[in-house]
């Protein structure tokens, strides 16, 4: 009996074909983009020099650094607020289960337009319109926020249960009251979720719009790069990473408070238990995930 060795779970020929095609594409694209091993080798040497010049990080102009950071934070806060304020009505208008189609289509078109262009490109246009400075950054990030929050807000309104809306409407409530008591409580939790996410994202992007002159730390970073002050670059980057991580922690804390009903009493209780050596059991989902 000829033992035919067959692998029971061999790759199907389609999977093999796709793998081969991906590899061929990667080689073709790499050729198109002029990648070569010599460049890579040369680059490794440059990388060593770069790293050597980046460390130890040095804060050359502390004032510039702090001003830039403060401006970035201001841009992030104001852009989030402005974006949310504009996005809520537009998102509401875009919900097809509550609004007639003549209202929802334009709202959806606006949101799609805001989403389609990268914040930096929008920032370029606003720099031309309102000049260099923080205002251009605020407006650009607000446009991006409208795109993101508007889309998610519309989607979450479309997923609500209409029973509560009908119940409120049956009491003779006005349209505003239907929205306020029938719709908003149902989407509040998800709203907190994507508002904190958007703030986080605005914080990241606010450090970048400065590259095109729209205010914030990005301008400082870019000019440090152009002056080859790599130790200052390293210092800025480390500060940025620290701030972004702090922002992430803050966002997680806000979600714990609003979504998992974290309270002062819970925090105190946990501290108390830990001090007595009881060991705190994970109280909330948000706490448990990190």
């Amino acid at each position: 009996m000829a033992a035919v060795k067959r692998r029971p779970f061999a790759l199907s020929w389609q999977a093999k074909l796709i793998t081969v095609l991906v590899v061929i594409y990667a080689l073709y694209a790499a050729g198109q983009l002029d990648f070569s091993l010599e460049r890579f080798h040369a680059g490794l040497g440059h990388a060593a020099t770069l790293l050597a010049r980046m460390f130890p990080p040095r804060i050359q102009q502390p004032d510039t650094l702090w001003q830039g950071l403060a401006e970035s934070l201001e841009i992030a806060v104001l852009a989030s607020v402005l974006g949310i304020l504009v996005a809520l009505p537009i998102g509401l208008l875009g919900a097809r289960n509550l609004m007639p189609s003549w209202a929802s289509w334009p709202a959806r078109a606006i949101v799609a337009l805001c989403r389609s262009l990268h914040p930096v490109i929008v920032a370029i246009l606003f720099v031309k319109a309102v000049g260099f400075g923080a205002l251009a950054g605020i407006l650009a990030l607000a446009v991006a926020s409208v795109g993101f929050i508007g889309k998610l807000f519309t989607e979450s309104i479309e997923e609500i249960s209409l029973k509560q809306v009908e119940a409120v409407r049956a009491t003779g409530a006005s349209f505003a009251n239907v929205i306020l008591f029938g719709v908003l409580p149902q989407v509040f939790a998800r709203f907190i979720g994507f508002a904190t996410y958007q703030f986080d994202s605005n914080l990241r992007n606010s450090t970048m719009v400065g590259i095109v002159g729209a205010g914030g730390i990005g301008g400082t970073l870019f000019s440090a790069f152009q002056r080859f002050d790599y130790d200052f670059v390293a210092a800025i980057l480390i500060t940025l990473i620290a701030i972004i991580m702090l922002g992430e922690l803050l966002a997680r804390f806000v979600r714990a408070v609003f979504l998992d009903n974290l309270g002062f009493d819970t925090i105190l209780q946990r501290r108390f238990d830990a001090a007595r050596g009881l060991g705190s059991k994970p109280l909330t989902r948000a706490e448990a995930d990190e």
Partner: protein, 274 residues
């Protein structure tokens, strides 16, 4: 959730129903206060030059006026090539990032790598990759490899590691234990458990992560050229520096079209694959 706080009356029945306890309300109130304080502080200290704001409509009209007869003939001359380069940067960057991110994501998943130290180390890599913006990654790689698409591709790849790795790790952590335990019981090797136990479970999530990231990368690679990392951003930068706004309009239209096409592609691909 927590039990609602109630005020007991003499008879033992609650008279007033409150949704949140005192501590919860205090914390919420404190957060609202912080938000308002942050807004007020930001409004007070942000530097906005009102004169610039007043003539914004004028400037905008001027901009549109300069853009208007859009120089479509410029498309084949100077936009088509960079546009293709942008797509290559986005796609190659995505492929590269998947290759780099999957191992890190697997190391970050607690059920697959039962070592707290390794998990945290992998998560640190993922967080730092996400915290540095793609433009900053591009600047770093330009300093290393010189201006050009190589820097752009690597920037896209390194920026995507955090996103892909985090989501792959979470997908692995959510996988059902049943088939994994069955495979382990047969004495399957670690690789076999990974390939036959986890991969079929995370496959839909994996493809949707890759497609989503590709879509984001197409958008991001369009701006990388502004700092010199290749692609259509270089054409945009040149046209803007020369104040050729009619050409800028062509580039913006091209970017817009590519973004829309990418979105249609991923929607169709999701329907097919998932």
């Amino acid at each position: 959730m927590t039990a609602p706080a109630t005020t007991m009356s003499g008879s033992g029945y609650p008279r007033v129903w409150q949704r949140y306890t005192m501590g919860q309300r205090l914390l919420r109130f404190a957060l609202y206060l912080v938000v308002v304080a942050a807004i007020v502080q930001a409004l007070r200290s942000v530097e906005i030059i009102p004169e610039f704001l007043y003539d914004a409509p004028e400037q905008m009209a001027d901009l549109l006026g300069r853009m208007w007869p859009i120089d479509w003939s410029f498309y084949f001359e100077g936009v088509h090539g960079p546009l293709m380069e942008t797509l290559h940067i986005a796609t190659l960057g995505t492929i590269l990032s998947v290759l780099l991110a999957v191992p890190v994501g697997l190391l970050a998943a607690n059920n697959l790598t039962p070592s707290r130290v390794v998990n945290q180390l992998a998560r640190l890599i993922l967080v730092s990759s996400r915290s540095v913006n793609s433009l900053v990654w591009a600047l770093l790689f330009i300093a290393i490899f010189g201006p050009g698409p190589l820097a752009g591709t690597l920037a896209i790849a390194f920026r995507s590691i955090g996103f892909v790795g985090k989501l792959v790790g979470e997908a692995v952590e959510e996988a059902q234990r049943g088939s994994v335990e069955a495979l382990t019981a047969t004495g399957a090797s670690k690789g076999a458990v990974l390939w036959y136990g986890y991969w079929p479970q995370i496959r839909p999530a994996f493809w949707s992560i890759v497609l989503l990231r590709w879509d984001i990368n197409v958008r991001e690679s369009a701006v990388l050229g502004l700092v010199g990392a290749g692609g259509i951003g270089m054409a945009l930068d040149t046209a803007m520096n020369l104040f050729q706004w009619d050409r800028v309009a062509v580039v913006l239209a091209a970017i817009f079209a590519v973004v829309v096409v990418a979105e249609i592609v991923i929607t169709q691909a999701r329907k097919r694959i998932l």
